[in-house]
């Protein structure tokens, strides 16, 4: 590995959150973004080629070293780490509405799901998965919600463009609300998912 790749590996090892490519390139003033991308690819290939127990994953707009799924059960058995608790169906449905309709108010979420959403919204906000992104024009200036970076981390997504697009769904999306745009530039990266 090149010295830059080694430096990036050390930084990624030291961090407990995904580091963005901008953060990583601040480590070495000489290195251009393209150099950092190449070096990251080198780290990833190194882990894959040498069959390391960890891998480099592109996630939530950054990069992070994660253990490979195959070791999950053993690590959990030994109580070294535990899985994040599963989200309830109500939480997942609410997240789905927010992810595709953001910024979206409580009333619209409740209309789509057919149930009141106050409690779920509070829970999701407490877990840092959604955040208030503004206020609507409607009467009472209702709070509008959007997904937070933690949402991408929880799902292991690079960005919102990683969500399934309209044509990938069995049921087509509502015509007035197309899926998130901008998936083209994300396609340039190698799929991080195992």
């Amino acid at each position: 590995m090149t010295p830059l790749a080694q430096l990036l590996e050390a930084a990624l090892f030291s961090a407990s959150r995904p580091l963005t490519i901008e953060e990583l390139s601040s480590l070495d003033q000489e290195a251009a973004l393209a150099d950092v991308r190449t070096a990251l690819e080198q780290v990833r290939e190194h882990y894959d080629f040498e069959q390391h127990g960890v891998e480099l994953v592109e996630m939530a707009g950054g990069y992070q070293i994660l253990t490979r799924p195959i070791h999950a059960a053993a690590i959990e058995r030994a109580h070294f780490s535990v899985r994040t608790p599963r989200l309830s169906a109500a939480a997942l449905e609410t997240l789905a509405v927010i992810a595709y309709r953001q910024p979206v108010g409580r009333v619209e979420i409740e209309e789509i799901r057919g149930v009141s959403a106050g409690g779920v919204l509070r829970t999701l906000q407490e877990r840092g998965l959604i955040e208030v992104v503004g206020r609507g024009e409607a009467l009472g200036r209702p709070l509008l919600y959007g997904t937070a970076p933690m949402f991408l981390e929880l799902l292991g997504l690079r960005d919102l463009a990683d969500l399934p697009r309209a044509e990938e769904l069995t049921i087509a999306l509502h015509p007035h609300h197309p899926g998130p745009e901008g998936a083209d530039d994300a396609a340039a990266y190698v799929e991080a998912e195992s």
Partner: protein, 248 residues
Amino acid sequence: MTASEAPTTALGAGPGFVVQLDAFSGPLDLLLHLLREEQIEIAEIPIARIADQFLSAIQDLGLNQAADYLDMASRLVRLKAQMLLPRRSEEDGWEDPRAELVRRLLEYQQIREIALWLGRAAERRSEQFVRGFLPPAPELPPPPLTLDLLEMLQAVERVVAAIPTPVLHRVVARPLDVESATSRIEQMLEEREEIGWLEALGPRPTIVDVLSTLLALLELAKRGTLRLVQPAAFAPMVIARDPARSAA
């Protein structure tokens, strides 16, 4: 809720009909489930039959979660009535009263599909751990607090016993002996024209001696009996006879 988790219901059978409503995330979920059970296309929803099934499903519902389901039930009943109204065939501009419900169901079904996808993504992600993960501390069971009056009084006694009794100190003022220091310095200055600070203190001075001597010197200097001279900064102080007085 995933399709595989959906409880099976004995539909159509009147008294044996049981649905666990907790298993559904809302009235739309329940409706979709009923349609799936009957293998009916959403667009072809038979309002009359589905409305009846929906109503019997929510019969045993607790009041606190009823509102969302009752709202849907009332819509269904209204739709059922609308569908029963006679309409002239081939009439233009007839709007299917089910259209709005069908649209909502389709929209909800789509959200359900996305929710499933999100659930699978979260599941995959949870199989990978990050560095430095700290498992949340296990919740401690509440300590058993069984206490009778005697135990409590004993505890109070222990606490009271642990409080230290205040100790009183008698502070004795050590009198400074300025007078003897004064006479000692005057006597020394009788013999010699000037003396050093350490000499004025005398052998093995105590803190009281030092303070007494200092006060005596200051007092004598004020009276003009002697002069206090420091030849240089931080140099030892020289105590000299007042020239005017010695000349007299």
